[in-house]
Symmetry: D3
Subunit: 313 residues, 6 copies
């Protein structure tokens, strides 16, 4: 193990950027220790390089590698929180979950199994880097095993509560309908934030509403402000355990060009980061950042944003 890692209270932090240049050395998330370098993990960052569930631009299978690369720029102390998230608790990089690209149902099973093993009965919280949004379903199942139904805060341009797509049940447009059907979500406590764009039909919104979701559009964030929207979000989730799922396309294509189904009119990265800072960390029992498609990214704009977003969680 590198002897350049910052330590505090027995926790092993990132490699010190003033000792080892940030473009050198291991490519773990934020230069954190690998899971096999420490004996305990409060939070594990794990990649799920899977994009067989996408309906438009593929490529999110390269998301975990790109976000890790961009995360080299993160430093250990976050002045916005007055906290050093990597030193107050043991955070590790757990590598990638291996799953087949050729069979979606099988892959969903592989992800659930690996995530469940990794979460170790809930003693390790998972922050997952996707991958496409299909992966949220097995991750919610994993969380549900420990915590029961959770409140979902879902940042996305899209609803992702469609039913099927070419008769397929498991795709990146359907995870939250499946989660609802499987009882993984607490009733009436979930919401979408940042939605916008066109739909297939007016029924899309009705059905979404019937499943108990509320949505706060991107426009609402622009006109009413971050604080007001997040107050409503917090009120909705109450004191339930919370799962945060962030499709990077919640950002405007200017801030996140590297994604599969871009929609104009999105959030700025400043807005999204400010919203995440309004969350109450203790209640977050799992999170994902998905749909980073590096082939469409430029100058790491998208993956830098995703890395900051993951850091803010």
């Amino acid at each position: 193990m590198s002897d350049h890692r910052v330590r505090k209270d027995g926790n092993v932090g990132p490699v010190d950027g003033s000792q080892v240049p940030r473009y050198a050395g291991d490519s773990t998330f934020a230069r954190l220790p690998r899971i096999d370098e420490v004996d305990r993990a409060d939070v594990a960052i794990v990649g799920v390089p899977f994009d067989s569930g996408v309906s438009y631009r593929p490529g999110a299978r390269f998301g975990p590698a790109a976000v890790r690369q961009a995360s080299r720029l993160l430093r250990p102390y976050d002045p916005a929180f007055r906290a050093g998230p990597f030193l107050e608790q043991q955070v590790v990089d757990a590598g990638d979950i291996v799953c087949t690209p050729f069979d979606i149902t099988k892959a969903v099973g592989q992800i659930e199994e690996a995530a469940t093993e990794l979460s170790d009965g809930g003693s390790t919280k998972l922050l997952t880097i996707g991958g496409d949004h299909t992966i949220a379903l097995p991750l919610l199942r994993t969380v549900h095993r420990v915590h029961g139904p959770v409140a979902l805060i879902h940042f996305d341009a899209h609803l992702d509560t469609w039913d099927t797509y070419f008769e397929a049940e498991y795709t990146h447009g359907t995870p939250f309908r499946r989660a609802f059907e499987e009882g993984l979500l607490a009733e009436g406590r979930s919401c979408h934030v940042g939605t916008r764009g066109s739909l297939y039909s007016p029924d899309d919104l009705l059905e979404d509403s019937d499943m108990g979701f509320r949505h706060f559009t991107s426009n609402m964030v622009g006109t009413e402000g971050v604080e007001k929207v997040m107050a409503a979000v917090r009120e909705r989730v109450g004191n339930l355990p919370v799962y945060v799922s962030i499709d990077i396309d919640v950002l405007d294509p200017a801030h996140a060009p590297g994604t599969g189904t871009p929609e104009a009119g999105g959030l700025t990265s400043r807005e999204l980061l400010a919203m995440l800072r309004e969350l109450i960390p203790n209640e977050v029992v799992g999170a994902d950042v998905v749909e980073v498609a590096p082939a469409y990214d430029h100058a790491e704009t998208t993956s830098v944003a995703a890395a900051h977003v993951a850091y803010a969680i």
Copy 2:
């Protein structure tokens, strides 16, 4: 004709994205029917691949193809309007107007002739995808034949009311001065929105004002908000027939890098889309979206924005 098209009230809509993947099949705007597939058109989307009038970066000749490609992501129902613009009326893709790249005056004539034929005495409204801003002049002439002088709402970083450029009368910097001189615009009812950047001299603004234009700068949109500016715009145009001309460079280069004369400090795509939703659709008798130069675009950021903008109109 594809049997996968959505239909309602006798209108033929886009190909159904849950039956035919959005990356497959015809490349008409928003996967709408071609004009020869239906017997009537309320609105025709038409491309004008022409960029011989540009003063800096050329390439808008590839704009129509790029915007059509990006428009594959549009779905038929717009929740922001609570309407399905493609089903309430018959919207078609009328292909491209053919004009020479080697003689601007001749091309302006070709565009006017083709647009006039297509608009069919006003029974078909045209939404034109440019091409450079030179094309607004023949399109305004076409509209004028049916409606007489119109109110112009012009979204742009620039005024486009210069006189001549290298002695040339018809360029992308001069259409609205020509339109004023030809009496195509109703007196004192037009405005520029989103202007910013440096000018050749203080006379530019004086002359613009003498032609009866008002302008609402990009900064004004930022400090006073979308609603207030659009209220002033609506008051100015009154109940006249309105022509909406959108130079995509009204957006900030972050949101629209793929354009010919980028100016920092522009609108966000969220602001522009919100402003367009404040327009009263019935009074819009024609519109264009111009200056998309795909060679400078990245990950379709600009053409996705342009496609959403065209959709919002």
Copy 3:
């Protein structure tokens, strides 16, 4: 139907590039007529936007659209052949075959069914634009129905005769083993051209040889020359009906960056075009050009090469 199309002997050719600029108008392959615009087709160009069988970089689902876009530069007369391939016979663009991205086996069936219908008992030859190499299997099945076992000339950096990959039988690395097992290939008459790069094990080559393939490496083309290699290829296929399958990664990444599994040390586009000109066209009963992944392309380098390659066939 556009009245700008070139005609000869009753055949309808491409739109005339000196009447309609090549950046304007329909986006069919080489600006040929759509299949519904003529009453007969000797050759049909058809896209198969499918890439769920790839093992590394996805994105070939956008291949058909990109190759069509790049094919606008093709003109009707080929001096290297002293022939106008689009006027001697009726060539059409048959659009895209629709297949699901979410279930490989089902998609393979959909492709076979659509290709069989399109080939119309063999009276229409298909030139397919992929899509990933998985699609060669259903296309060979289609050809086999009419012609029985064929000789395969396979241009590729890779063998594509692996057995399974993550237990999946149908992927872009396995079509020719499946074709061999299904008896679609004439015994001992097929070959790979342009292979290079590392393998999983020495067994890969042995098994390939056991299936009756010969291979001519990229290096061999460089040292022995195009003519000598092609003489050997022609001798091998004899007078059997020939299916030509071209993975664009047979070209060096310099010539084809936009592909899924690039290997250094490949052919130049001049070499590949020269080799294709050495084929005897009458005996080619089907062909495909696959693995163009536009997200990794630059300045259409790859898709221009692919368009020329398709034209040369």
Copy 4:
């Protein structure tokens, strides 16, 4: 000297864009005269192509050339100021300061010497285009020789008041600590604007504060608005001579991808330009725009923003 230059009151302005296309001719900043073409300079634009002090992505050595190229789009009259900055005073392009890339300490000396000679005892104000932020130190020394301690307004995502980095004293992360130590800054009158992102430790902020800096975060600009923040900035600097140092990474990566250490959550270009317009020009005795790294830029987005920023100063 070109006879197409605009002139007024004896001052020589830029080449006239309606006489010489803006893509043609000399590549001086904003097409201004070179310093050897006029006999006097009130303001000199000077490039410092130096990036040996960077800790992450290098490439700012190409910044001066890129910003000059992008500055071709600037026109002589700025309506936001109701002024023509290039005609009220003699502004020139003084070319690049030559310094070694291989020895930071020597380069810092070369920059100081050349800048001092160029400023000619203060009669010529310098607007410097970097280059990395290391160069701010010798430029502050130059200003200090004439004006004594100055107030610094520092736009940046980062503090740039670290102590050493790999034991090196002069880097792009340390110029303002060195400036403080050398007494170049007036006590308690300087500030950072636009800061955000993670730090090495909580001490970073404490030490910064001990050196007498105040900081206005990017978030503050978003929630409190440009005017309020700039009022506080102006109050802080009082009537002291002001040096303005702008790291282009103060902008969000969406607006400035082409930079060395991007941080999500930054300012928009509209905000930054509005803030610069709130400065009182007479009191600005020197300025720099640094950290433009063109290799990571796209469609000149970053360099266009930097050119406008330099213009606004």
Copy 5:
């Protein structure tokens, strides 16, 4: 004038790259002196930023700036020639010829006039950087005034001897037919080198042959080698004064992606450079390098090649 320029025999050469970094300082071609810095010029490099004659991708108006930028890498001594082309004779950068983008005929006149003035009765040879191929016509007229009919060696993927295009006589596809008609070319002494790709009809070649051109295809260079082809070329031109016109698309798109009408199967840069070295310099009375379109270039691949090509001439 910079005192870092290399000098010999009274000639002023480039700025010394070991004194001034090659990324710093003036952006003249190969860092040569500007024409106003010396009192005599044997050879003048001049840019013609004009691209209004293109039929597909525009953007060559930015060619001169890009080639100058890439030419910073050239050093004064060429070992392949055992000569220092910039020291044996006085070579200068004469800046750009100004011409309107809005009227091709007028621009052709402006180019002819400026080139004639610059060539100073033949005492200064011109090496022109385009711009599109339209400009070859006025440049040939200029050469003809001094030397009478010349032999043309034309490197290009295309013939450029079409008649009209959309009724326009002066375009990038027609200069050499116009030159033939105007008697600028010596009878039966000209040739095309590197041609390939498809044509509009078999007549294209017949007409070309009737005008007295011979052509050496790209394939011929590949199979017969550089020396043999160039021997035939030299035999053809005999001892006539020679004009060399190089369309950068003679290179394969792998070597020159940044051009307007790319054709696969082209020359390598090594082949082109070797061919140019086989020319006899004294007999070359003028030359151009055209069709560099930087917006489609990557990492300056095309403009570096063009700079080397210009250097080799």
Copy 6:
């Protein structure tokens, strides 16, 4: 340690690509084990992310990460050698050598020290991924400690035997002059391969020759062929221990755009790979692949080539 690694004869090979997708998992070179995962290393791949010695485009500090990423495509068996280089001997990834970017002399010392420790008295051969060419000097010193003076085979567009550059002794243009002066090279046994391009003066070649180098130009490879040139190279090095240093710019910019000082007219990747296969592996005692600058790369073209090159060694 991953249990998906291929093993043979006690050696631990790469992760099996048919078990773990090649876009998933650890980012070691070719997915080899890390040095701390095995107890012995015959060959160690080590990165040196250092680029402070470059004279033009920087960015090679990101070379090791990019080459590792591209090396994921390598498979364990090389049919061209009929060998599996990763199974016949224990090959490991030793991570990156840490050195300061701010002081070249200090960094050269840090590299020498770390490399010497890693090579473990010669029992571990090093294959180094740069970084710029400055690093060849400390690596040659390391090899010299064990083997005494070696024969150098240097693939490069440039000689890299300049004396000083801005008075600096240690830069990417000077390592082999320093090596000569320090006696690290066997007399008259070294050579450059692939050189081309312009020089500062004829003295460059004379001095190079005086130091006992021979050079085989890129042109020579093209006209005489790989085999003949390599026979001459092998004759020159005799049976001495050989150090192979490969500047990726020996490839043509078409094959390696992502490098610092591109020169047109270079080798193809097929030629370079064929030349490396002609080396006698046992006699190679060390090697480097340098000057991969990913910011200028496209679609990993350069880093894929570099990965294959490293593999071939």
